[in-house]
């Protein structure tokens, strides 16, 4: 137990969250170099803010910073909008694995839905944090995540029968 106001160790593991923030940035930017730059910038900016005793608030701040930096990156670089499809994978061998169907199903989701899938089911971000990031109620976010999973299952089901 620790009390607010005292100097305390951070409420999350930086190494673990580095990977997660990097994955989120990569999904947004689709570029490893830029994703890593923004990940590091995110953590440096996070250090400038007051400490949070709550892990959820700290996570919310991390993802807010990362999201804003990704958005700013697009504005500065004036790059084209990301295509809906995930581009050809670098590792060709991976395409031959059983994950092809899932990858294709993911590619059919909208960019925002892919982000939600990554945040919730890979980065394990709590629903209340995601709902705050997207400005919707927790109930609405929970329903949206369920719909996304149902959509993925439908896509996989259809591809399986083809």
């Amino acid at each position: 137990m620790y009390l607010r106001g005292e100097g305390v160790a951070l409420v999350f593991d930086p190494a673990e969250q580095y990977d997660k923030i990097y994955k989120y940035c990569y999904i947004r930017l689709n570029n490893r170099e830029n994703a890593e730059d923004i990940t590091q910038e995110t953590f440096l900016r996070f250090l400038e803010h007051p400490e949070y005793a709550s892990s959820d608030k700290a996570l919310c701040l991390l993802y807010t910073i990362a999201g804003n930096l990704c958005t700013d990156h697009f504005r500065q670089k004036k790059t084209e909008e990301l295509p809906e499809e995930i581009p050809v994978q670098e590792n060709f061998e991976q395409q031959l694995t059983d994950n092809i169907s899932l990858r294709q199903a993911l590619s059919r989701l909208s960019q925002q839905d892919r982000e939600l899938v990554l945040l919730r089911y890979i980065n394990d971000v709590p629903v209340n944090v995601i709902s705050r990031l997207f400005g919707v109620s927790r109930f609405a976010m929970s329903r949206r995540l369920k719909k996304i999973l149902d959509t993925l299952r439908n896509y996989l089901g259809k591809e399986g029968t083809q």
């Binding site: 137990m1 620790y2 009390l3 607010r4 005292e6 100097g7 305390v8 160790a9 951070l10 930086p14 190494a15 580095y18 990977d19 990097y22 994955k23 990569y26 999904i27 490893r32 994703a35 890593e36 990940t39 590091q40 953590f43 440096l44 250090l47 400490e51 005793a53 709550s54 959820d56 608030k57 919310c60 995930i86 994978q89 670098e90 590792n91 991976q94 694995t97 994950n99 899932l102 990858r103 993911l106 892919r114 899938v117 990554l118 089911y121 890979i122 709590p126 629903v127 209340n128 919707v136 109620s137 927790r138 109930f139 609405a140 929970s142 329903r143 995540l145």
Partner: protein, 367 residues
């Protein structure tokens, strides 16, 4: 989601590994571990103060008698029943005695801290309207000069009993007793129940508006019961109170946002037949079975239909509440925690107006 599914999903995203992670953490990793150790005695003093305040609350609670009259029984550490009405129910918690003796780093002073905490909680079910009550107290912490050989921390309590009021500052919340037929919704907690009823075929001979409900043609039943249904126990404490007991509350304990946004597609009046309390993804929900009595706007339902209306808020067992709020209170037993929402136990048997948005199998309330 299972670990294997998670890994499969992660592989499907095909995200390459970062290349500069170790370099960054080597350089800045130390900045993420900041701590300013305080002297041990100060930490223990703060802990003792917190414990003393906490014990003062329960001590004050224990000594409140009928109609706010004080009852002093300082030497009694047992749990007493303090009924407020003939139909009162109670639970109690005893936190025992803590005693702490430490020696400061320099070895020149010693600090003795002792507290006794015995708590009595009473929940009251009355036959009158909603009743809320609270109590105020002031606590004085007195410490002697730390340069002396011994420091004793004691508390003085000035209890100001409150008359019963209907203010919104809730410590314990009692609700009007619903009709007997509706209170005993027998659903064992943590059981899995999945019940869906396929819509019944409706006849084309639509009933006239003046036909009594019993004589209407068969209406569609779209009742949805959640997989996990929690029983609402007689002993209820509010979410706010649970959170206030902790020094580090999870931000998930902030007020719910029932507003879903958007224009409602369906405006109806309906009689609430049943409440099912559950939680999904850490969100406390109430599924209300509603029989449509009047349709103001929309065509998704007709009069007589049975639908399910889902909204945030409701009652969950204490262990589920602690898991959702990521706190630990030590409260055990059959206790429900109330998360504020638009649905309530008192809705059962009553007719309400609903602004609804249709989801796949149920409806949600929109403002």
């Amino acid at each position: 989601m299972k670990d294997m599914d998670k890994k499969t999903l992660e592989q499907a995203f095909s995200i390459p590994e970062p290349e500069r992670k170790d370099e960054f953490l080597d350089k800045y990793g130390s900045q993420f571990q900041r701590s300013t150790p305080k002297p041990l005695a100060c930490k223990l003093t703060r802990f003792a103060a917190a414990a003393a305040v906490f014990s003062a609350v329960f001590f004050a609670w224990h000594n409140l008698g009928d109609a706010g009259k004080l009852r002093h029984d300082p030497g009694n550490s047992t749990v007493d029943n303090i009924p407020f009405s003939t139909s009162s129910t109670e639970f109690s918690t005893s936190l025992g005695t803590t005693a702490l003796k430490t020696t400061s780093l320099s070895g020149n002073t010693s600090t003795t801290i002792s507290t006794r905490t015995t708590a009595v909680f009473s929940t009251v079910t009355t036959d009158s309207a909603m009743t809320e009550f609270s109590t105020e107290f002031t606590t004085v912490l007195k410490t002697t000069d730390i340069s002396t050989s011994e420091t004793v921390i004691s508390t003085e309590i000035d209890i100001i009993p409150h008359e019963f009021s209907t203010s919104q500052s809730t410590v314990l919340k009692t609700t009007e007793k619903p009709p007997a037929t509706a209170t005993t919704a027998v659903h064992t907690s943590h059981t899995s129940v999945l019940k869906t009823t396929s819509p019944q075929e409706t006849t084309t001979t639509a009933a006239a508006q003046t036909v009594p409900v019993e004589e209407l043609p068969e209406s569609a039943s779209r009742e949805v019961v959640p997989e996990t249904v929690y029983q609402k126990y007689d002993k209820v404490i509010s979410m706010e109170e649970l959170v206030n007991r902790q020094t580090t509350a999870s931000p998930g304990s902030d007020t719910i946002t029932p507003a879903e946004g958007g224009v409602p597609e369906l405006l109806i009046s309906g009689e609430v037949l049943e409440n099912y309390y559950t939680a999904e993804d850490g969100i406390v929900l109430t599924y209300q079975t509603v029989r449509v009595t009047y349709v103001t706007m929309g065509s998704a339902v007709q009069e007589g239909d049975i639908i399910t209306v889902v909204s945030e808020g409701g009652y969950v067992p204490i262990d589920v509440a602690e898991e959702i709020l990521e706190i630990s209170t030590g409260i055990t037993g059959d206790v429900s925690v109330y998360f504020p929402g638009v649905a309530d136990e008192s809705d059962i048997g009553r007719e309400k107006n609903f602004n609804l948005h249709e989801e796949d199998s149920y409806f949600i309330i929109v403002p």
